[in-house]
């Protein structure tokens, strides 16, 4: 019964989405208030029904209803309850339903918080989001229905992929999707602007908080994915340049460029067509990402194993959405240019450079991901493009970007006097260079050009990011405090600096070693000794495992005990490595079991990973910066009078 209700709810949601997508857009064109007001009601209704459907699917999992095919394929009676819930989005059909739910939720949020927007504009935005919902709902109902039945029902399910039976993997998709789908709001804002022909600074101001919020979630989602891969996949890597990872990274890069471009458009009315194009591209890349993951066109350990029919559907949807948007762009963009200028030394220049470099980076990632396919189709044979290429290619635009990151936020809009600017930058720059050269040498024993560059850039960014907040804390009585927008910017950039520090140091000084060990034997990695004390069998709720108890010592002093496991899940019979990790603020000691060898020995991989937590911590701080920025009073709902803009360097971003 419940699955039927869920199915029916989806169909109702589709009809509401059709109302939501079609009527307001016609209403906005005709200036018909009645038609436009359908938008918010239809959006709310659609959300309610999609939520009901999602609830029905969740219920089916919680009650282990194996008459539903999707539940039978991805759940199991002995699956812990929390994973029964996360199994809802553990495979294609369910995660698609979650996507639809999140899209509906964003739409309702826009509808709820759009009182400052003109009626026609809001109607168009919600209408466009409705059109997107139609596409996804059709996709679900026609090709990927989570409520398909299995007759006769299975006695027990095929179990959730053990890789997904993990808390990190439970929250990673929701956060990631909130980000991915969130860019559809910026996209809808862009389309609405193009439809009406009006794109001004107010438009940029409206679009900014939505974009920043989506970006924040995407940052967290990617960070969680990286962290999860590190401790769960067993080999201690945190980024593989895998096509599916790239699929989430490209929207992030373009989203970052979009945030910065919106800042310029809001402030000075410049770069309007660039902002539009970036808004279209960010969401298009989200769609492309979904296509790559679900169509089976590329090889990846992350890909949902699914079939070409679904691939064709998504591709068709992608084509319609993106080509439609770009036709609008080609039509409207030429009339958007404004005739104001800026000096060579100005914030506008730096933001432009920032965006150029981010777009180059995103293009390179796209190239690396799709080139093997393109080359193969051009009869050039099958090649692989992996981390060796990506790492080098990505650094090319990134090195100038991280070096200049600290500078733009202290450069004034329109024109910046050279003298005070140099005076501000000089000491931090010298300090950064000195620390860049010395830090690796003193703490890790060696240094190199790239290493010094990375550490110097990181220190530079960190110091420059702290200047405005610190000045605000030490300000005189009566002086203006730093706005949340500017504070958010500083915090986000600070996070970036911490991230760069982590990446540089862990890439350069990470040590790893593989060895066969029996209880009593030990292996030395770096300054640490890892001794295998004991091997024993343990039982989990739905798995049995071999656990090694490994004691870590430094210079004879006890540091920690870790317990890496090799688990076999009872139903799918696949083996999983659970690494034993000792976490400290400045390093990880990582131990993973390989395979059982003869004579009671196991192969063990041991790694020393300095500063690796900074990678994820930096990302969290970046996301925090986004949150702070979004909470700025400027974005609150009440429309207010326009006011003059001043051009001091500490102005809001």
């Amino acid at each position: 019964m419940i699955p039927e209700i869920g199915q029916f709810a989806l169909i109702l949601a589709l009809s509401l989405a059709i109302c939501q997508g079609v009527i307001p857009l016609i209403g906005a064109y005709r200036n018909d208030v009645a038609m436009m007001s359908v938008a918010k009601t239809a959006a709310t209704g659609q959300f309610v029904f999609v939520a009901v459907a999602f609830g029905c699917l969740t219920w089916s999992f919680l009650t282990s209803d194996f008459s539903v095919l999707y539940v039978a394929n991805h759940s199991q009676l002995s699956l812990p309850t929390i994973y029964k819930i996360s199994a809802v989005w553990g495979a294609h059909e369910g995660s698609l339903l979650m996507w639809i739910l999140i899209l509906a939720a964003w739409t309702v949020a826009v509808a709820r918080f759009s009182s400052a927007l003109p009626e026609a504009f809001a109607a168009r935005v919600i209408g466009v989001l409705g059109l997107l919902s139609i596409g996804f709902l059709l996709f679900a109902l026609l090709t990927s229905n989570p409520f398909d039945r299995l007759t006769p029902p299975a006695a027990d399910g095929a179990d959730l992929n053990p890789l997904l039976q993990d808390p990190g993997l439970a929250i990673h998709p929701p956060l990631l999707y909130i980000g991915y789908v969130g860019f559809s709001v910026a996209f809808a804002f862009a389309i609405a602007a193009m439809l009406s022909g009006d794109l001004d600074q107010r438009w940029a101001k409206w679009t900014r908080p939505w974009t920043t919020l989506a970006w924040m979630f995407l940052t967290l989602g990617i960070m969680l994915g990286s962290w999860w891969a590190y401790y769960e996949l067993g080999w201690g890597g945190w980024w593989f340049w895998d096509p599916v990872e790239n699929a989430s990274f490209m929207p992030w890069l373009i989203g970052t460029a979009l945030i910065h471009s919106l800042a310029v458009t809001e402030r000075r009315g410049l770069f309007k067509s660039w902002t539009l194009l970036l808004a279209i591209t960010a969401f298009s890349l989200s769609l492309l990402g979904t296509f790559l993951v679900r169509s089976g066109i590329i090889v990846s350990v992350h890909a949902f194993a699914t079939d070409p029919t679904r691939g064709f559907f998504i591709l068709a949807f992608l084509a319609i959405v993106v080509i439609g948007a770009l036709i609008l762009y080609a039509w409207r963009a030429p009339s958007l240019d404004s005739e104001v200028g800026f000096s060579l030394l100005s914030r506008e220049t730096f933001l432009l450079l920032n965006n150029v470099l981010l777009v180059v980076a995103a293009t390179l990632v796209l190239m690396g991901t799709l080139a093997p396919l393109v080359i193969e189709l051009l009869n050039g044979g099958k090649i692989s493009i992996g981390p060796p290429w990506f790492e080098i290619a990505f650094l090319v635009p990134m090195i100038p970007l991280v070096l200049l990151l600290g500078v733009g936020m202290h450069t004034a809009w329109r024109t910046q006097d050279k003298r005070p600017w140099v005076a501000l930058l000089r000491i931090p720059a010298i300090a950064a260079i000195v620390i860049g050269v010395l830090l690796p040498l003193l703490f890790y024993g060696r240094t190199s050009l790239l290493l010094a560059l990375g550490v110097a850039a990181a220190v530079w960014i960190i110091v420059m990011s702290l200047i405005q907040p610190v000045r605000s804390m030490r300000r005189k009585e009566g002086a203006a405090a730093i706005t949340r927008s500017a504070l958010g910017m500083s915090v986000a950039h600070l996070g970036m600096g911490l991230f760069v520090l982590g990446v540089t140091l862990t890439s350069a000084f990470n040590i790893e070693s593989d060895r066969a060990l029996t209880p009593g034997e030990s292996i030395d990695v770096g300054a640490y000794e890892f001794e295998m004390r004991e091997l024993r069998d343990v039982q989990g709720p739905n798995y049995s495992a071999v656990e090694a108890i490994i004691e870590i010592r430094k210079g004879g002093e006890f540091v920690a005990t870790v317990r890496p496991q090799k688990r076999q899940y009872l139903v799918q019979k696949s083996w999983m490595t659970e690494a034993g990790i000792h976490v400290a603020w400045n390093k990880d000691l990582f131990v993973a079991l390989g395979d059982q060898l003869g004579n009671g020995a196991w192969s063990v991989r041991v790694q020393y990973k300095p500063m690796i937590r900074f990678i994820w911590f930096g990302a969290i701080i970046m996301a925090l910066g986004g949150l702070i920025a979004v909470s700025d009073r400027r974005y609150r709902l009440t429309a207010s009078k326009p006011s003059r803009v001043s051009s001091t360097a500490t102005e809001t971003a």
Partner: protein, 177 residues
Amino acid sequence: MSRYILPLVAVIVLIVFLVIGLTRGDPRALPSPYIGKPAPEFELPKLKDSSATVSTEDFRGQVALVNVWATWCVQCRAEHQFLMDLAANDSIPIYGINWRDTQPEALRWLQQLGDPYVASGFDVDGVVGIDWGVYGAPESFLVNADGVVLYKQLGPLNWQIWERDFVPLIVSGDISQ
């Protein structure tokens, strides 16, 4: 004007590639670099009689099928009946490479299911497998009289594949059909 149309054109080109890519089939199928080139030579101990050897020389001068198989390979079992029928037809000699297997198990398999092979080489450490670019059993190579690889089949053979892909090549004797 053109810079506003450029993104549209680029996207259309990309989508065309993606459409073609979708129709392509299994993205993990790896074509053999040996097609049209001489097959790598090998000499392996015979599975059934370790004191004797089987080598590429044994089938030089005739068109032959070289089949890579193993007892741990589920698909090989599915393919086995086809190989038995093919051997019964007497149309083409079939040579086996027993890949990364254990001799007793392999012998028992042939005893239970029948032996379609003129001879099977016992490749215990997989060196010959690697030489031939094998990455998953079963794989089959069609080799002509001069020792040139005409075709490689990934996965199990059946009559449909045989008629469609192998027979025309056997008749013509080289890779251009």
